[in-house]
Amino acid sequence: MINHLIVGPLLLPLFMGTMIILNTNQPIARRRILGLFSCLAVLVITIILLFQSVDGPIQTYVLGDWPTPFGIVMVLDRLSAMMLCITALLALICLAYAARGTDRQGKNFHALFQFQLLGINGAFLTGDIFNLFVFFEIMLLSSYGLVLHGGGGLRTRAGMHYVMLNLVGSSIFLVGVGILYAVLGTLNMADLAVRMAQAPAENAALLQAAGLILFAVFALKAALLPLCFWLPDAYGFTSAPVAALFAIMTKVGVYVILRVYCLIFSNFAGVGAGLLNTWLLPAALITLAAGAAGVAGSRDLRRITAYLVIMSVGTLLAVIGTFQREAIAAAIVYLPHTTFMTAAMFLVADLIGRQRPDAGTGLVPDRPVGQPTLLGLLFLTAAVAIGGLPPLSGFVAKVMMLTTVKDSAGAPWIWGLVLGGGLLTLIALGRTGSVIFWKLLPADDTETARKTAHAPVPVHAPADVFPAAVLLVISPLLVIFGGMITEFAFAAADHVINPVHYIEAVLGPDRSLPLLLSSGGE
């Protein structure tokens, strides 16, 4: 029995995106409904898939019914199921937020949004390295459109940097894929892993070079130092729901790093074994430090949040960089938390900024926001969660990460930077909160304030606030169901760290045998 649901998160956005194109000249309500319906349906599908993956084996979907490794295959393991689910939920919420007016600021927002979803989901599902390239391009091109949506000088400039860097990145990606194919003669990731394990020593340097070149590309996507400079401007200047959605984009880079370097370049991969074992951790730690510096040094809540995204990538990859099962499980717990919370912070920042006519999200005094209690509560919740303070999800994730990496060589560094970074976050967000909510100007205090004194501050309707609130509610839920989630994370990490499962699911038990032997059994 073929589980067609697996391609649901791909075909549905594609179809609905197309339907939205056909409705280009219709009233926007129709496009909104189509988009929201699509996101909702994808969410339902991904939840079903997630539950299937909890107890079930790794599922595959062979497109065109060609035998692997010849046809393109989609692979659903626990990690990809989780990523799909996170994406769907986040997308639904961001779209709901965007439907309150952001989508009117330019053309074709809803279609691009669906294609964005398609690209991200494809990157999570595909088991073929060239197909990964294709989905990356879908994801990136849509993201270019979304980043630029609405226009404006700063946004366009930031978008242009993002675009050009990634265009060069795409070329480099192809070079990496090309080398892999030229040496190993296949594109299927499981097959690549098998062939990598059997590759002769004279191809070692070439294959490792391919792996590292690809790493440069993934690092750019994930925003790893020194390839993260595009992010603060791009995320800081784009529209809020897009920035919120993009909280998942860097995670795609992280996911792919996890996938590729735990499968093709896994510890059992012969000449390619453990390629990133020495590289990832230091790079991630420096990223974490730079992100923390940015968080501490920024004078605008949106930029702070953008740097928080960089920090979260640094944290994730530092933990993943230990390449231990438990640590990866911890990263899997941290990932949804950080994705949802940074996204929430982008939305909250926008809600705040819209009620501060002069200062926006800048850390300068302004007149009081229109709904201080509501916005204060939202901000506080997001800040507590992001700062890693209990009782919200950041705390659990942090404890788990610290606990699980404690035996690795880099533990003191990870501990120091994660905790120190947490403190800096706390300081920055505490300062932000007290400036925005407490350090107020009387309505006629300054020149600018006087100018806009009588401009009405918009009052947020419940529907404006609802998406952000829903995102924030996820945090306590992650804690309350922490037991289940950590259990799931360990199971997911099992699939990730042991490439044999994946290979067996894709190529069958015979082909995974060599790898099993080289790893000395299980």
Binding site: I21, L22, L187, D191, F229, A296, L424, E487
Partner: protein, 942 residues
């Protein structure tokens, strides 16, 4: 479960007061919740006082060792009692204290939240759970201190408290994780029993220091003491709560809790004792000079916390007993004193000791109550503080202490006691005695009874305990200390009179010395002004924070300078370095073993033309149109190369794409400046050139490495199954539409997205093109040259036929939907070039969005039909038919898919070009909006 409810009730019920708009309801609901919690706590009395420890455990997140576990030890009970008891009193007091214009509901919400957090700390059975509540107190105190949000000092105080205690919390978290790791469990009972293991572990010092950092920051121990006085910006009931029974006491609670597992080592003794002693003396000294009543009390609090810390540092059983007792005593008198200070503030409008004077006439009750509190604070006999302080003095003289400690401790203790007496006298006498003050903001009188009730109760406790310690405090202290010490619990008897001993002498010295100090305080004040400049931790803190912000700003401005050139340089260099490392590190040869194929002169010369073309593109790049022409050469030769090496499909595609790209580039160039200014410095050009040469060299080496290596590919499968499986002889096309049809699906999606974005970017975008060319020549007026117009007319059907030909044969010969689509799009473009948008657009009146969408749907639909037959998406089928006259022909589902590709290509390319062409022409924009199209054509026709 009852156990868990004690902290959870206030926590979960915190929002309740907030929902009422009535001040009484606010207070009653808060009080009710606290009272229920208290009752639940008191239900544990029978067990606790018989030495049992009720425990409630539920798994929560076993993966990290977090469980939902509570316990009521005697010590925890003592604390919980303080929290709830004082909490209730404060609920009552605040009802009268909080002004009408302040949001009382919110106040009680924060208060309950805080109460619950504190209860959680003292009742947790799991270290991580304790940590959860620990940080909750940081958050809730942040909110409480900043309650008066409009006040700058409140904001700063709250922020500082959050950062210091929160930061300490992070350290403590690390310490707890290490501790749990060493002990093998996060359950407190297990951890506390693991003393030997913990002490023997190499990480013991680190663990200890981290945990102490958490405790010391929370308890405002030196050098973190400075946040606490600034937290006085909070409303007085909050201060009373924070500084007596909760917040700051959490630190000493934790120290006491950890004594059984971490205590008993030299390290513990050295750090804790030293810190306690310094804090004790220093804060007591500072308290003397505070004019603000609350400031005085705050430093006094810090000092008393130092005292408790010192006791716990000494760590002997009796010291622990003394510490527990003093915790209780201090809570009582300090809470009362804060409330009294609040009353004074409330009734007179000031807390300045300098301004206040002679209040005992107007406020006799308050004066008496303050007298009791100050007595306790100063350690005067018959008040509770005396008893525990005397025990403390006795411990500093304990014979176990050797070396320098044997005299430093008692000296320090006495000195601090002297200061304490002095500031206590100052508070009492300075405010209530002397001439009644005249210029107070309000005329003083006794507060409402409800407001006096709370301090009166607390002062009664002080007196009763001071006189009948064994009866009123004995069991509590016994249970509390017993819980810490376990079998080491010493036998002791609490009484006012212990006989004449050294401790009593020291107490008397302190009382006398204090009186003297108070008498000559003015001289001290002068000296203090001089040194206080160096003692303000707040200034230091603020400069630290602002320096940190600046440093962060410097770092990011250095890293993220907004220059794309730099980002790209870094990116390309990084890739280059990463790619080179494996070759540098390993000794495997770059080149493989496959022999090179012979080179023929034609290929050589075409290769040279390509190289020259590429270099010329760079050389001429400042003259943009010239550069485009050079680039075309490269594109052409690449197409020739594809042909040379057996890839006709690629040649077709390359050449078509290239021309469309060139057209796009020229269309953009019309609006962009025609030349690139020379603005890069020579150094930069050299640097870029070097990187370019390195990258090119690396790339060439990589290509050589590949071309000289053998490989084994999955392609044999495609060659073998193309005809039998895919029904086509053009293997490349079968791969595209069948074996890897999903890639193609994605590829056309990319094209469609590009169309959408370009449409979005250019919608409503207008820009005027220059009126002359770059040399200043006017444009020709002949917009649509006749000869071209007349040639393109018959060319269109011919080219479309050709396009159909390319499309139909694609499955078996070079060609296919994509190339056919590009041909169609370019010949349509030719119509636009010849006759203009205004003429052409109405004749090709389909909405390009719709064409694209239909293409996508067709491709998608083709893929989906296989679902009906229960095959995966995109499973293809084909069939050969034989019809009379026509002969054998094939219908493959892949053809429908390819048709989708065709439509998407046509739609997106036309969308791009027409939109791009409309930027500087209003007519074109008008005609491009599809609604008008039909009308336009109609108008023209008639």
């Amino acid at each position: 479960m009852t156990l868990a409810l004690i902290p959870l009730l206030p926590l979960l019920g915190a929002f309740i007061p907030c929902i009422f708009h009535n001040r009484n309801l606010n207070a009653v609901s808060a009080g009710l919740i606290a009272a229920i919690s208290l009752i639940l706590l008191l239900l544990q009395v029978p067990q606790v006082f018989t030495g049992d420890m009720p425990v409630y455990t539920r798994d929560w997140i076993p993966a990290i060792g977090l469980s939902f576990a509570f316990r009521v030890s005697g010590f925890g009970f003592l604390f919980a009692l303080l929290v709830l008891g004082i909490g209730l009193l404060i609920v009552l007091y605040a009802r009268y204290y909080i002004a009408k214009e302040d949001p009382m509901g919110r106040f009680y919400t924060y208060l309950l939240f805080f109460m619950g957090s504190m209860l959680g700390i003292v009742l947790s059975e799991n270290l991580l759970l304790l940590m959860v509540f620990w940080e909750l107190t940081s958050i809730s105190s942040f909110l409480l201190i900043g309650f008066w949000r409009h006040r700058a000092d409140a904001r700063q105080g709250a922020f500082m408290a959050l950062v210091i205690t929160g930061g300490g919390g992070f350290a403590m978290l690390a310490g707890f994780i290490l501790l749990g790791h060493i002990a093998g469990s996060f359950e407190l009972t297990a951890v506390l029993a693991a003393k030997e293991t913990v002490h023997a572990h190499p990480l013991y010092p680190v663990t200890l220091i981290l945990i102490l950092a958490g405790a010391f920051t929370k308890s405002a121990q030196f050098p973190f003491q400075f946040w606490l006085p600034h937290a006085m910006a909070a409303p007085t009931p909050v201060s009373a709560f924070l500084h007596s029974a909760t917040m700051v006491k959490a630190g000493v609670f934790l120290l006491a809790l950890m004594v059984p597992v971490l205590g008993g080592s030299t390290l513990w003794f050295t750090i804790v004792t030293t810190t306690g002693l310094i804090t004790l003396v220093f804060a007591a000294y500072m308290a003397m000079f505070k004019d603000d009543l609350k400031g005085l009390l705050a430093y006094s609090t810090v000092s008393h916390l130092g005292l408790i810390t010192l006791l716990l540092g000494i760590g002997t059983p009796m010291a622990v007993v003394a510490a527990v007792f003093h915790i209780f005593n201090h809570a009582a008198f300090k809470a009362g004193l804060f409330l009294l200070a609040g009353i004074i503030d409330h009734e007179t409008g000031t807390r300045d000791i300098q301004r206040l004077s002679g209040l005992k006439k107007a406020m006799p009750v308050t004066a008496v109550l303050t007298l009791i509190g100050c007595g306790g604070m100063a350690g005067v006999p018959l008040f509770n503080g005396f008893l525990s302080k005397e025990m403390f003095l006795a411990e500093t003289l304990a014979p176990g202490l050797t070396g320098a400690w044997s005299w430093i401790l008692p000296v320090g203790a006495v000195l601090a006691a002297v200061f304490a007496v002095a500031y206590s006298i100052r508070m009492l006498v300075g405010v209530f005695w002397g001439k009644p003050a005249q210029d107070l903001p309000r005329s003083p009188h006794e507060p409402p009874v409800g407001m006096t009730l709370s301090p009166a109760f607390l002062m009664a406790v002080c007196v009763l305990v001071g006189i009948f310690p064994a009866f009123f405090a004995g069991p509590l202290v016994h249970a509390g200390a017993g819980a810490i010490l376990g079998p080491d619990m010493p036998a002791f008897h609490m009484a006012v009179w212990h006989g004449f001993n050294m401790a009593l002498v020291l107490s008397m010295v302190a009382l006398a010395g204090g009186a003297v100090f108070y008498r000559y305080r003015h001289r001290l004040f002068d000296a203090h002004v001089w040194c206080s400049r160096y003692l303000d931790g707040k200034t230091l803190f603020e400069s630290l924070v602002s320096r940190m912000v600046q440093a962060g700003n410097h770092v990011i401005r250095f890293l993220e300078n907004g220059s794309l050139q730099r980002y790209l340089f870094v990116f390309i260099s990084a890739t280059l370095v990463l790619g080179a490392i494996p070759f540098a590190v390993s000794k495997t040869p770059l080149l493989g073993t496959v022999a090179a194929t012979p080179l023929d002169p034609v290929t050589l010369i075409m290769g040279l033309i390509l190289i020259i073309g590429a270099v010329a593109t760079v050389k001429t790049h400042r003259n943009r149109i010239l550069s485009i022409i050079m680039l075309s050469t490269v594109g052409l030769v690449v197409a020739l190369a594809f042909t040379r090496f057996s890839a006709p499909d690629l040649a077709l595609t390359q050449i078509s794409v290239e021309v469309v790209t060139i057209i796009l580039l020229m269309m953009a160039l019309h609006l962009l400046p025609p030349t690139t200014p020379k603005e890069s410095s020579k150094a930069r050009r050299r640097r870029d050139g070097l990187l370019a040469v390195l990258a090119g060299g690396g790339a060439a080496a990589l290509a050589m490495a590949i071309l000289t290596r053998p490989y084994d590919t999955i392609s044999d499968f495609f060659l073998a199954y193309s005809v039998p499986g895919g029904g086509g002889t053009n293997v490349v096309n079968v791969i595209l539409v069948d074996f890897r049809g999903f890639d193609t699906m994605g590829e056309i999606t990319v094209l469609a997205i590009a169309g959408l974005i370009i449409y979005a970017l250019l919608h409503g975008f207008e820009r005027h093109a220059p009126d002359t060319d770059e040399m200043g020549r006017p444009w020709t007026k002949d917009r649509f040259p006749m000869i071209l117009v007349n040639i393109t007319r018959p060319l269109l059907p011919l080219a479309l036929l050709f396009s159909a030909y390319i499309f139909l044969r694609g499955h078996n010969d070079p060609g296919g939907g994509f190339i056919a689509g590009l041909i169609t799009a370019t010949v349509l473009t030719l119509q636009y070039i010849a006759s203009g948008i205004v003429w052409t657009r109405p004749r090709f009146h389909f909405d390009n969005h719709v064409i694209m969408a239909l293409g996508l749907i067709l491709a998608l639909g083709t893929g989906l039909t296989s679902w009906a037959l229960n095959y995966p998406f995109l499973t293809s089928t084909y069939e050969y038919f034989k019809l009379p006259l026509i002969g054998k022909f094939e219908i493959a589902s892949a053809m429908a898919f390819d048709m989708g590709v065709f439509l998407v290509v046509v739609g997106s390319v036309m969308l791009m070009l027409v939109k791009l062409g409309s930027i500087n022409s209003e007519d074109a924009r008008t005609v491009s909006t599809s609604v008008l199209v039909e009308e336009n054509l109609e108008k023209e026709t008639h």
